[in-house]
Symmetry: D2
Subunit: 353 residues, 4 copies
């Protein structure tokens, strides 16, 4: 209710502020008997962690996950998996200048008005540091999903856009560049773009695409909990996200029904896939694909006007170490949230088998 | 869990198939002592009902709501509000030809695979007829929201697009045309477009915009239940929706932080509103605005290939009375879902006052 | 949240006041493909309905259930099952004398204070008439549970107590007497007791026992949602219930561990069953058994003091037609609630198979 | 769903096994701006912790709570409160003898059957060690409840029973004896009883009573979520609990309505309080009181037959350090769970003010 839990039967509850002692979470509803691959979890964490390349924030965090429960002799027991990630590199003094100040387009002002009392250091609870806990849960979800593959990658940075359909991309190239765009030429342009805006002390937005393959038929619940509705919520819950579209998306609104309808093959698969793998909220076995829009990071290294708690406009400049573009580090978060949605609906679907 | 309930504390559970005896719902968590304006509810229903103009389906349903509980002497009692809407105009024989057939881009195939047994008549549970119950609940929610206004309107039909910012529109003109676009000139083009595609036996998609004004500061929950995340889920749960964006949306990804940040006035309001009235998932008192993409209706009046349950491809043609464009009738549904989200978060916020 | 929904994945939401047009409910999460035995449902309803014998209220209600959705060609479709039961025999004028009056030990006063505005007729929402909807849902749940049998019966009326262990009872005799006690001699004493108190214009309490047999191993969730905890909540949610005990119950507190421990047979069954079929919140395959305490009905046909909304004490006398003892009609309600709990946990357990 | 979360808006999710690295929890929905009294929390912990007196287990745990989030500069921020309690005194080798053995009347067998893979050490997740996390959350809940007082005490140990009504007891004496019975004479008998059974290597059950005073009118939700139904669930979720009764309880079933009805004073309070402060599931402002039955601890220091995972009956004897009677240490747990229920319903009630 208070917004810190995601999922209906496979559930992750997260806690923690960016400059507290630790962040962490509790995963409830994980099946028992699952061999946990700890290295695979850490590999996902490493894709999200700061300092991983020269186009992301240079803040250093090892982001090592410490599991406290729910795993015994390497296997899950069906009991809740509690875990923490320590906050190592807390330069809290970097934030003393914003103690009484509401940075523009940050959550400082709204948290202050809603809660009255807030941990202002590094955004506190509203910091994207919270997403590290999502990546832990998502990495476990992926191990349950097994043959279902979830692949996210960068589609655009500012106006640099990858225009190829995903079927023409080689997903094995995604990790070849720090920007996580599988097309080398476009990736280089994106990297240049990010380095340009960073030099200006500025930031830039972008789009992450995600493709889910080998999806069984029948996942999803009708009416309010359509699979794509839950995916939309999952994605919009990620910091800085402004939009979501799946299948034909906004472009599809320009098509006629005769163009847009996905005709069948005799085996139930379809010739086209404008539906994005979901009909009536339920998977039809075709690939699910969707796009997620990320706004430019609000913290810029330029002077700009902020508001303080006495109602004065005051000039401030971002300090600390921030991302010039959130998109490269958002890729594993998009995958994690997609995995959490999928595993939840897979378990729900199991109930009636 | 099974997807037929929306909301956390103000909750609507709906039931009913398009060709059953009745559809309906239960609203739980409605405050007591509210004077219910039944005419206002029916007025919302009339905006959604079939047969209201010559650019929508000519099916006839009076869509009269019958309240069974929760209202006593004209006022709510705080107990659940049960209601039904009878299905009057059930030409079920219109659907005998699809008994064993999966129409392309419909939910026929996925429901069959998920449930094994389905009411195929008129789409059964997957029919947008279900949204009538949402409009009932939304109309009550609006009465609770009181001074918060929710205004949806048609922004595009196919490639006919209303390009003005909402601040330049006169919302009082929305109901002047059956397409519900407040700009007369654009509205006429949209109507012509719809009539064209209908003559072709075809259908067309479109976009609905929604603006929420007079919003109190502090609505929304952080992390997973951000206000815009719940709005996204609410919108994507509407039949035929493929995308959602709020504030600067997908276009905002092309901007730099220095352009996109909303600088403050001393009173806490902002000079620009790329944030769409929400920062960190919580309202900041500025207008909320968002767009919702609707695909073209799948049922077309042209011959096209379908799949039957024996695995044969078979030619079929839509019968019955269908919308050539869902957007005009979707406008009140978008408002209803927005109202349900807002009232839920308003009540949640009350808890801590 | 507002208390009108029960269950986590098999969920019943009820609505309706005793003197409104109808009561009803929505069952969500029912598996598809279930052949619904409508006669079996009505048979359960008939066990609960007023006027069934001369030891219960003589109010007349046919209590016919009308299903509106979720069942197609006699089988469930997996979509929500909406149903209504019309209120036929609404002698609302019987209640005009309590419009401004709070009857002792009724919910009149607390509803007035909580909601400000209430339907006072016949107790409105707080009337046990609401339990008719539970019996509908429970009857469907029983059909899903199939070989799991749930048997409730009357154990005591006032100080007339059936002292035999349930293993010595012949459950087929339960319906032989209107008091639903399987021991004929005790049943007769109970009936006499009820007739005595009725002649005095008084009422009397009692205890219902319930035995659940053929239970699979592994139902139940640990920690907060232990199976017996949910059973306790289910039972305490029934009107007039004051207590719940399972297995050895309150008497078991007097035993030593060496007496109370249930030693195993090699097949995992136990020699004794003080545990009541549940260990650590999870079924062990032995019979579940529990007792439910019902207070005497508050409405008596004697003059007694009530309070009106002006703060005056005022003499009043019960009118209308009331039960001298709620226990005989509570038997099917106890079974229904037990069935709802069991089916919910059965589905939850299926998720991990 | 999986049972590790309690509450609807004030929610505690717990994790941890008795012999893992740590147990802990996440409290979500705590109001912001609350000055947290850490000493008061530790004081509650100390009432529950092992080794506190010579009638409880001599296992040593300091049970120090470490808060990781949600508290900033001594005050809550409205964000989730994550906390851990380290497991210090893990003599895991004490449990090697039960690795493949199911102890009678323990959850070993049912966990094995449900999950296939379990942490057998010290009962793992099914250990009452988990209740330490409940006490943390309950202690915070008490600070929110403020003037509402919750007082639990020992009413019986085996057949030694405190027969006075709670109004005749001096609650300030509860902590005078390690058995937590406020009547000194009875307390001594109870202590002797516990020492006797311990000498025999045996255990004994008992009853805890709880009284809640200064309760506002209007807490509770009708129908399924009646306040007493949720209290029942809360209590039955505590390890070893077999029964719950409130107000007149099981004894009340023997009374007539004319005896049992609570007549009003003009101010709405009642002359008697058989209702236990709750009518129709909603508080009426009178004291809430209830009793909770605890079975004898299953682990005894005598030889008894157990079952191993090969289907052999095998003699075993309890090792380690166990409670001869759980009741003295259960007193703070009963209070904690009651506080969690009350604060949840208080927040729910706030929504509609």
């Amino acid at each position: 209710m208070s917004g810190n839990t995601f999922g209906s039967v496979f559930r992750i509850s997260t806690f923690g502020e960016s400059h507290g002692e630790a962040i962490g979470g509790v995963i409830d509803g994980c099946p028992s008997g699952l061999n946990i691959d700890l290295e695979a979890i850490q590999a996902e964490m490493d894709k999200r962690k700061p300092g991983q390349s020269n186009i992301v924030t240079q803040r250093k965090e090892s982001d090592k996950v410490k599991f406290l429960s729910g795993i015994f002799e390497g296997k899950t027991t069906g009991t809740p998996i509690g875990f923490i990630i320590e906050n190592e590199n807390q330069k809290s003094k970097d934030y003393s200048h914003i103690k009484d100040v509401y940075r523009p387009s940050h959550a400082d002002y709204t948290y202050e008005k809603k809660y009255g009392h807030r941990d202002y250091r590094g955004g506190g609870r509203s910091s994207a540091r919270e997403t590290a806990s999502r990546v832990v849960a998502g990495a476990i979800a992926k191990q349950i999903l097994n043959t279902i593959t979830i692949t996210a990658f960068t589609t655009s940075v500012g106006d640099i856009c990858l225009d190829k359909p995903y079927q023409k991309l080689n997903f094995s190239k995604i990790e070849d560049t720090p920007v996580r765009c599988p097309d080398k030429e476009t990736a280089e342009k994106m990297i240049n773009k990010i380095q340009d805006v960073r030099k200006q002390g500025d930031t830039i937005g972008g789009v992450v695409s995600c493709v889910i393959q080998n999806v069984p038929i029948g996942l999803g619940e009708p009416v309010f909990n359509k699979l794509h509705a839950e995916l939309a919520k999952a994605m919009l819950s990620i910091n800085a996200v402004k939009g979501f579209e799946y299948g034909s998306g906004f472009q599809g609104t320009k098509l006629k029904g005769s163009q847009h309808n996905d005709l069948y093959y005799p085996d139930g698969s379809t010739r086209t896939n404008f539906s994005g793998g979901i009909q009536g909220g339920i998977t039809n076995g075709m690939d699910i694909y969707f796009k997620v829009a990320f706004k430019p990071v609000a913290t810029i290294m330029q002077k700009q006007e902020a508001l303080n708690n006495r109602g004065d406009l005051t000039m401030m400049q971002g300090k600390g170490r921030h991302d010039p573009c959130v998109v490269p580090r958002a890729v594993p978060i998009v995958e994690a949230m997609a995995a959490l949605v999928l595993v939840d609906y897979m378990l729900l679907n199991n109930m009636y088998k």
